[in-house]
Amino acid sequence: MINGLPLAGCRVVENSRSVAAAYAGRLLAAMGATVVMLEPKEGSPLRTAPPLVKDGGPSALFGFLAPNKRSLTCDLLSPEGQSVLAGVLENADILIDDTPVHDRAARKLDPEAIARYFPKLIHVSVLPFGASGPKADWDGEEVNLLHAGGEGFLLPNGLSHERFPDRPPLKIYGHFAQYQGGCMAAFSALSAWWSVAEAGGQYVDVSVQDAVLSVGAFALQRLGDGSLEHRSTRRFRYGGVFEAQDGFVELLTLEDRQWQALVELQDRPEWARDPALLDPLERSRRGDEINAHIREWMSRHHVDDIVHRAQQLGVPAAKYRTPADVINGEHERFRGLFAPLAINGNEQAEVMVAPFQFRATPLQVSQRLPELGEMNRELTR
């Protein structure tokens, strides 16, 4: 327990194979909860999940997901392992588990048994399609889940789709869907824990598909308005991704004053002085024409010059930054977004502390990865 952090005193047991469940534990650990990661003797599959920092080397993904957790190995199919599980649950507030529904009883992880023996425990199930409903036993990886939740079909939009209209839809990098599922699990765990004094422990059923759909709710809203969204038509009427001389820029003006500033940014060209374009609806109708002009202008300028002047003028514009840009970013450095992490022997990497800050009680900057079974050694000592 780390005093002073938001979740100091909160005790979490994480039994994870999926990125979703591990990310839930990751967020809680970052906010100061004590997170015990149960692993099989050979270690969590996430320890060797790509991308690796070198061939056969440690996983960068695990490096991101596991800081500040503790590791306890046990075989949940054995009586000894089950007694280790019971021991840690005895002292836990929250259990996060992604064991498939049909494998739970044999591991003493079925919700009925957990509720009977640990009545104050918040038992959070995190599964691709949830633990109930006709598809509860369906399995899914990231690519399946992003598409099952509706966002996959809608990507890419804008410039990527224009350039490659016949290619299959494209997923978001990495584990976006699972991160939504994991964050939903952390949020709902803390919400159920909030009411533990009145309601007692309970079982919380989180589905990665549901979480993707929740964050994609706007598409469902558009459907209700009569529009079935498609990646070919889900584009801003004007604005979007532009190729500048030395990189890519995102530009999006939603308000009149931002449009005026955009005209100013391009030194008030002749085409933009058309009085009809003062009407935002007219601008939307003539979006393609506007974009063609902006593209031509962008192609003659450097990214840094564009975004610098745009921000001065109040035009929302951003450089498409590479991971190296982000890790070395002045803004990120100022905000202490990253902390040192020993990952590959003595090699010092850096890892994000957390995607949120608590200004009254800043989060810890020291980050360590758990050694496999480190808690077993402490228990037998």
Partner: protein, 398 residues
């Protein structure tokens, strides 16, 4: 049964998408959310949104479900006083202006601490409350661009991809988790907290693994639909146009099941595909073969068949598929809603299922502007009708 966050009250100053989504989530779980807006600065959904192609106001707005609406003209000092009174009777104050705006309005964290010593202030912005870029305005595609997620997403030979509302809402979801942690902290310590969520940093978390690599001087590649340890992996055409099948084959067992279901016995013994490593090495060839093998398949029945055989498969669903899916309907994450001006439509209901605190989800739809002032100004703040009429006349309530 009750809802987990019943009794939690939010003074909600959020605008646009990310902040309102956060308070909507808290509201779905039972929090009472008082949305503060005005006739001169109404919420985005009350206006046309031409850049998105919406030429009129929205009749239904997902991120304002369950919310109460009151009007306050925050340019007026008396409205700021009333806003502070709402903060004083709320557990959480949420805002999503550009950094510094709340302070200029007289509603900065220090000011709010004076009226409520244990205030939980959530500030959700594009770039956070500190740092050289904190004054930057932005929307979802910009968060993705700044945070590196846009760069890492895309065809490997194409441009970066712009993130849409899922990016706003993901920031809102992370903010909701952090806000709950702050509430727990307050319960334990009795102290105030300022939660600072920068949407671009949430975008960066989505490439957290790539940032570890970048910190070691490694330049992560943009993988598109491919995976470093799974093949086949991706999105494949089927016999119906624009009806794609997503596949992720983890290991040899799944591979054998896949080729069995696709009736490709030669592939089962093809040494190019005998191990996961070999399949990844030959993934380009595999992708061509898969497209051929699936050319006469129905995506929907193939997905079901493959799932029964233990292979991770799912159709690339459009929103209409989602709206009619019985699984999602049974879980309650989708449900029909309707109202006096709202023909029946499908909305996102309970995002999570709870075994005891089951009363989560949509309790009421989009509020009319100022619809709940009798309760909020009358009952909660104790303003008389005469006082409220006077405040309206002087455009404090506007």
């Amino acid at each position: 049964m009750t809802a987990p966050l019943r009794g939690v009250r939010i003074a909600d100053f959020t605008i646009h998408a990310a902040g309102p989504f956060c308070t909507q989530l808290l509201g779905q779980l039972g929090a009472e959310c008082i949305k503060i807006e005005s006739k001169t600065r109404p919420d985005a959904f009350r206006k046309p949104h031409a850049v998105y192609g919406r030429m009129t106001a929205a009749t239904f707005d997902q991120v304002s479900v369950n919310k109460l609406s009151v009007r306050l003209n925050l340019k007026h000092p008396e409205a700021v006083v009333l806003a502070k009174r709402l903060v004083a009777i709320s557990d959480i104050t949420a805002e999503s202006f550009r950094a510094g705006v709340m302070k200029r309005l007289g509603l900065g964290f220090e000011e709010l601490c004076k009226v409520k010593s244990d205030v939980i202030l959530l500030s959700l912005s594009s770039c956070g409350q500190s740092g050289p870029d904190s004054h930057f305005a932005g929307y979802a595609p910009l968060f993705g661009a700044w945070g590196g997620l846009g760069w890492m997403s895309g065809y490997s030979d194409g441009p970066p991809v712009e993130m849409r509302h899922v990016m706003d809402h993901s920031a809102g979801l992370h903010a909701a988790a952090a806000t709950m942690a702050a509430l727990h902290q307050r319960r334990l310590t009795g102290k105030a907290q300022h939660v600072d969520v920068a949407a671009r940093e949430v975008a960066s978390a989505m490439i957290g693994d790539a940032l570890v690599l970048a910190s070691l001087g490694i330049e992560p590649a943009r993988p598109g639909n491919s995976h470093m340890s799974m093949a086949p992996h991706g999105v494949y055409p089927t016999r119906e146009p624009d009806r794609w099948l997503t596949l992720a084959v983890r290991g040899d067992r799944e591979w054998q099941a896949l080729v069995r279901e696709l009736e490709q016995p030669a592939a089962a013994v093809d040494s190019r595909f005998s191990t996961a490593e070999a399949r990844v090495r030959h993934s380009a060839e595999l992708d061509v073969l898969l497209a051929k093998w699936l050319a006469n398949a129905s995506a929907d029945s193939m997905a079901e068949r493959l799932q029964r055989a233990g292979v991770c498969a799912h159709v690339s669903w459009n929103t209409a598929d989602i709206a009619r899916d019985p699984h999602l309907r049974e879980r309650g994450v989708t449900r029909e809603v309707s109202g006096p001006d709202i023909p029946t439509r499908v909305a996102v209901g309970a995002p999570v299922r709870f075994s005891k605190t089951t009363d989560v989800g949509i309790r009421r739809l989009t509020p009319a502007l100022g619809q709940d002032e009798d309760y909020v100004f009358g009952e909660l703040l104790g303003l008389s009708s005469a006082q409220r009429a006077d405040l309206e006349r002087r455009e404090v309530i506007l």
